[in-house]
Amino acid sequence: MAAARLEVRYRRLLRCYPADHRAAHCDEMIGVLLAAAEPGRDRPGLRESADLLAGAARIRLRPGRALSDRNGWRDALAVFSLAGPVLVLASSILGWLAGLLWSILGHTGGLTLDLGFANGAYENLESAHPVVATMMWLLLSGQAVVAVLALAGLRRCATAAAAVYVLYFGTYAVIEATYGWVFPAMMVAVPLLLVVAPLTSLAALLASAGPRRGRQLMRLRHWVYLAAGSVGGAALTLRLSVFVSTPIRPSLLALLAAAAAAAVVLLLLTAWLSSAHGKRLAVLFGVLAFPALLQLAEYCGLQGPTAATVYVPGSEALVLCLLAVIIYRTRRRAKSAGGGSGQGVA
């Protein structure tokens, strides 16, 4: 009985290990732990528990860990290199169609001055600030070029297009946040949305075997999830504002946007978490929700020109660092694996 209880407790501790390591070594480790345990013991000792936790941490933190998930990040990035640009474009188009429909129905919801992936409320574009109109069409065109090239499996062309997009809008976001030409200075997170999604896509295109490999990995259900995510993304970019005839305070919009972003991420999390690449994809899609979280911070008092000049470049740098770490780890892992299985697919 004591041995059975001890085994249950060991198994509980071994949950700290990565899933692939557990799948390969859990039973073997249980055997070793039980063989080493003193007779009659029914719970792991403190040192032993600490040793197991430290071992799990060492394995998790090691770059180049070569087990069954050797290509985990690489494959997740390959999926994202296709799914990311498609999600962004589909969200924008859905948002645009919803805005158009709203306009056809005779409503004048009013153009919100915040761009999502590319805000959908286009019905008043011509009467809006000319820079906004130009910017929106530039955004949409850029997103369409990257998504079409990714869907065609042209990795290098899609990477080049995404790089131009990121460079242009990355610079624009910093300038916009600093000088507030088009947007109120307090909406620091808005310009950030322009650049975070394509930046993540660019990282995925650079670090993985590319969209062709992503298409191989994606099953029908993943496309269904992507469609659901696009609807969520459209709701996010629309900010629900076209459905309300009276202007909404930007702070409330920010809160609604954050809630919508959270819903999208939650949807993707629950749908994908059980799959092999689920957790990693959840991280990548979670990056897209980052500006919305920043908006929530705005709502809680993070406002003003200083915040704009500090937080937008700072946040861009933060996202860039995160993506750089993912690229570095993926590259190193691929190197240690002698090129990786997915390398020749692109």
């Binding site: 070793v32 032993e48 040793d51 071992g55 394995i59 090691r62």
Partner: protein
């Protein structure tokens, strides 16, 4: 190379061993100084297999428990030989200097 790593490789030098066998062998080789626990052992095995120094050899079921045996790869054997030579050279220098100081 850290001592536990050296001892793990040394315990596999004579032939394939399973996890518990490595633990007891390491304690024996080090005359009880180094007592590996399972967490440390499997983190080391994971790292060493990542580095290509050892590999899984075969598996067997004993008392309804899985036993996986590990063996040194040729690269692991070379690394162990190099490390042994390095330690031997260092030990020889240290012994020589101690003798000189003693005289």
């Amino acid at each position: 190379m850290q001592e536990p790593t050296f001892l793990i490789l040394a315990s596999l030098a004579a032939g394939p061993q399973h996890g518990y066998g490595i633990m007891t062998d390491v304690a024996q080789i080090s005359e009880g100084r180094v007592r590996l626990r399972a967490g440390t052992l499997y983190a080391a095995l994971d790292r060493l297999s990542t580095d290509g120094l050892l590999d899984a050899d075969h598996e067997e079921i004993v008392d309804n428990r899985l036993r996986r045996y590990y063996r040194l790869t040729p690269e692991g054997r070379t690394r162990l030989a190099d490390e042994t030579a390095r330690l031997r050279a260092n030990a020889a220098v240290a012994a020589r200097r101690l003798r000189l100081a003693g005289n």
